[in-house]
Every structure is written in C-alpha cells, then in structure tokens.
C-alpha cells in the first residue's frame, strides 16, 4: 500500500498561492489602475519620462555588466577548481562560500572602504604615482560594477563548480590523447559542459542585481539611480502604489526578456560548440 504524498504538499502549495501568486497578480492588476479606473497611464508616464527611461536602461546595462564581469572572473576560478587537487578544491569552495554567506550590507560596507578617497585603491594609485591626488570611486558606475561583480561572483562560481565536481578528471583525457591543446579542450569540452551552469549563474546574478537596493543606493550614490530605488521612492516618498507596481512589472518584464535572450544565446552557442 502506498500512501499518497499530495496532502503533505497542500500547506506549502496554499502558502505559495495565497501569499505569493495572489500578491503578484494583485501587483500586476494595480499597475493598470489610475484615478478613474483602468488605464495604461502608469506605463505611459513611466516609459514616456526621459529620466525614468534612462534609469531603466542603466539598470539593464548594470545587470549586463555584472553578468559579463562575473562570467569573466568566474570561469578562470572554475578552471582553477578543475585543475586543483582535493584539498585545494575544498579551499576554493570555502573561499567562495564565505563572501556568499556574509551579509550583503557588510560586503557593501567593505566596498565603501575600498572605493573611498582614503581607501586602498586610491592610496595605491597615489603611491605608485599613477594619480596626482587621492580620488574616490564612490558614486561612479565603475565603482558600482566592481562592487556588484564581487558581491555576485559566488552565484556564478557555485553552479560551475557543481558541474565540474560531478565530472571525473578523465573526462578530458580523450581530447588530450588526440593531441588537443589546453585551449582547445577548454573551448570544445569544458566550456560546453559548463554552459548549463553559466546559464543558472546568469539567472541568479541577474535576479540579484535587480534587487540589490542597498548596494546600488550606497555605492551608486545620488547620481546613479536604478529601478529598485525608483520603486522605493514611489512607495516611501510619493505613496504612488500604482506607479510603483507599473515600474515593478516593467522590471520583471525586462528581466524576463533578457533571461530569455541569454537562454537563447547559450543554446545557440551550444549548437556551435558541438558542430
């Protein structure tokens, strides 16, 4: 006799429907509500405004820059893991988990210290004579990308490592025996194998950048405004919930579109890789 499992799932299912799906549906509904009934006005006002439009584009750009830079740094770390012995692999996992599990606000704080006028970057540049006087990278896009990349890097490393740790080291031997050099093995064997991990990582990084309110507000400063701050301002200062909902829906849609685009690119690459 086999007991059915469904009753056990009901509480969490109800929780998801009542407290997750319903609020989302209400949020979407709210975005169409204006002072006199149903309207597209909220979207029109948001997308029609040059400042808001620039904020939206900057947010997408920041997301892409973070995805690109975490990929650029995540792949060599994953390869380092691949070529390491058992102990070194444990160390790499440990070094990835510590920053990942450390509070976001703490990591943001560390970047305030690093990017500041009296921080290590400025001091080093002045000491080497590369800069005439101390400078601050706070409130700059470069500073924000440097911080976001470090904060989100574990999100891309862990899926890659998860794949590599399941792969026996002998996996590349066939290629090696046939005389392929390390670059060729990387491009034709390891990279295609890592693609699902990269995709998972990109999704996580992207979702994280569109919620990292604190980092964007603190490091980006008043000059660099991103969509999360815009939503918060509508709710906290202007009390315009319909507008905030519309912005949130636009954020969701643009994130969704970019994710679909990235999935398609990775599928395409995979085909090329196997050809």
């Amino acid at each position: 006799m086999k007991a059915s499992g469904f009753p056990y799932v009901i509480p969490m299912l109800l929780l998801s429907v009542a407290f997750f799906a319903t609020p989302l549906a209400v949020l979407i509904g709210f975005s169409f509500i204006g002072p006199d009934g149903l309207t597209l006005n909220n979207y029109g006002r948001f997308l029609g405004d040059a400042f808001n439009y620039r904020v939206l584009m900057n947010t997408a750009k920041l997301g892409l820059q973070t995805v690109a830079s975490t990929t650029l740094l995540g792949i060599p770390i994953a390869l380092l893991y691949w070529h390491s012995g058992k102990t070194a692999r444990q160390v790499i996992i440990f070094l990835t988990l510590i920053p990942m599990l450390t509070s976001n606000v703490v990591r943001t704080f560390a970047w305030i210290v690093i990017l500041g006028r009296q921080g290590p970057i400025s001091e080093t540049f002045v000491a080497l004579g590369l800069a005439g006087q101390p400078f601050s990278l706070m409130s700059t896009e470069l500073g924000l990308v440097l911080a976001m990349c470090q904060i989100d890097l574990p999100l891309i490393i862990l899926p890659l490592i998860a794949i590599l740790s399941r792969t026996p080291v002998q996996f590349t031997e066939a290629a090696q025996v046939s005389g392929a050099g390390p670059w060729r093995i990387f491009v034709t064997v390891l990279l295609p194998m890592m693609l699902p991990g990269l995709l998972a990582g990109w999704i996580l990084v992207f979702a994280s950048t569109s919620s990292s309110f604190v980092t964007q507000a603190v490091i980006g400063g008043a000059r660099n405004v991103y969509v999360p701050q815009l939503i918060y301002r509508e709710v906290g200062t202007l009390f315009d919930w319909s507008m905030a909902s519309a912005i949130a829906v636009v954020l969701l849609l643009s994130t969704g579109i970019l994710l679909v685009a990235m999935t398609m690119i990775s599928r395409h690459r995979r085909l090329v890789g196997h050809a």
Binding site: G5, V26, I77, I92, T102, Q150, A207, L251
Partner: protein, 273 residues
Amino acid sequence: MRNKRENPIPAFLYKAFVFGFGGLSLIYLVAPIIIAITMSFTSGQTLKYPPQGFSIRWYEALFDPIRSGTEHIAAGNSLKIAALAVLGSLLFAVPATIGMARMKRSTVSSIEPLLLAPLVLPSLVYGLAALIVANFVGFQPSLWLTVTGHVVVFGPLMYRAASVVAQGINPSLAEASTVMGATWFTTLRRVTLPLLLPGILAGAFLVFIQSLDNVSVSLFLADARTTVLPLRMFALIEESLDVRVAAMSGVLIALTLVVLLVARRVLAPQKQA
C-alpha cells in the same frame, strides 16, 4: 588520423589565465571580507585604510548597551525574525518535500516551479506586492508580516535543500517500516525525518542566513518599531558612516564563519553523496 592543428594561442597563456587570473579573481573575491575585518580594529575616527592603529574601541562602543541601544534592538528583531522564518520553513517546506518524494515525477514537475518561483523573482518586487495586498486586507507592516514574507521567499530554499536529500532516499525503507506495522507517525519520526536531517539542517542554515541579511522584503513589510539589523546598518552608513558599522561587520563575518564551520562539521559525512 588527422594531424593536430597548430594552436593559435600558446599553452602557457592558458596556465596564466587559469592560475594567474583565476588566482587573482579568488583574491578579489575574498579581499573585501578581510578588509572589513581589519577595518573594524581601527583606532581612528574615519574609514581610512589601512587602519591608523589597533584598538577594540568600536567593538566596545557596539557592545555598550547605552550607546548602541538601537542596534541591539535591531539585532534582536533580526534574530527573532530569522528564527521564526526557519520555524515557518520547517512547517511548510519539510512536509512538502516528503509529499513530493512520494508523488509521480510528472506531477512533481508540474507543481515544483510554483513552489520554487520565489527564488527567481526579484524579492524587491515581492516585497512591494506583499505590502499592497497586506494593506488591502487591513494589515499594517509588522514583525509578523515580515516573518510571513521571509517564509514565502526563503521557504523554497528549505524545500530545495531537503528534496536534494529526499531524492537519494530509497522509498522501500519507509515501506519496510510500514509493512513491519509501524504507524505513519512512527515511520515519519524514526525513518523519514532522520534520513532527511542533513537536508533540513542545510536548509535551516540557508534560510537563517538569508533572512538575517534580507533588506528588500523587510524594507516594505517591517514597521518603524521592528527595525532589522541590515536596515539599521544601511541607515548608519547613509547618515554618518559610523565606524561602528565596521564592528558590526566584524561580528557578522565571525558569525558566518562559525556557522559555516559548524555546518561543515555536521553535514560533512553526508555531503559526499
């Protein structure tokens, strides 16, 4: 056999890429944590780095109940919310894991996306949605509303961690227990839950850490009285760049390290699977 093609990029550059660039990337990943720790022991008034001298004055200021009363309340709130979020995740996600393990693969894959969806959705958007609905039905932001939000957003972490373990459990173990005449409750208590324990512990650890760190849900759902620690730190950073934030960072990093080491010790034997 084909002649091997000449590689356009020499092999030593690959070594440089992996061991040089990879190593540097790893340093870049960890350096901010080390900088935050060393910063917290500064004797100076500012965030000048390297620190001007060694002292524990900022830790003293942080642990002083009079000077840091607000911070202590915020830390208490955060710990309370995180503990309740873990409890809530246990109540909802663990039964779901057990149930899903007994269901057909096709049914599971049609329900699972709904349960895991909160992990992909930007939590800021969820915070706003929850605020709108709560207000609609007459709930004001509060500690309990924040806890509910955290259970919804982080409960799936518990579900995912536990179901990874559940997939590896042989279903005939529970069947054997039933055949031998054990009640469903005994089977649950003596067979299913002990086998699931590593996953549950890993899930509890993730939910606790994430809840403690959350800003985007608490930002909308917590009221003025229940300031949480990350929001208090955010306020301190925005207002004055108080060096006590460095000491708070030091405490939080130490806490993370301790929890991580304990989790490794507890989960190590089963983790190999």
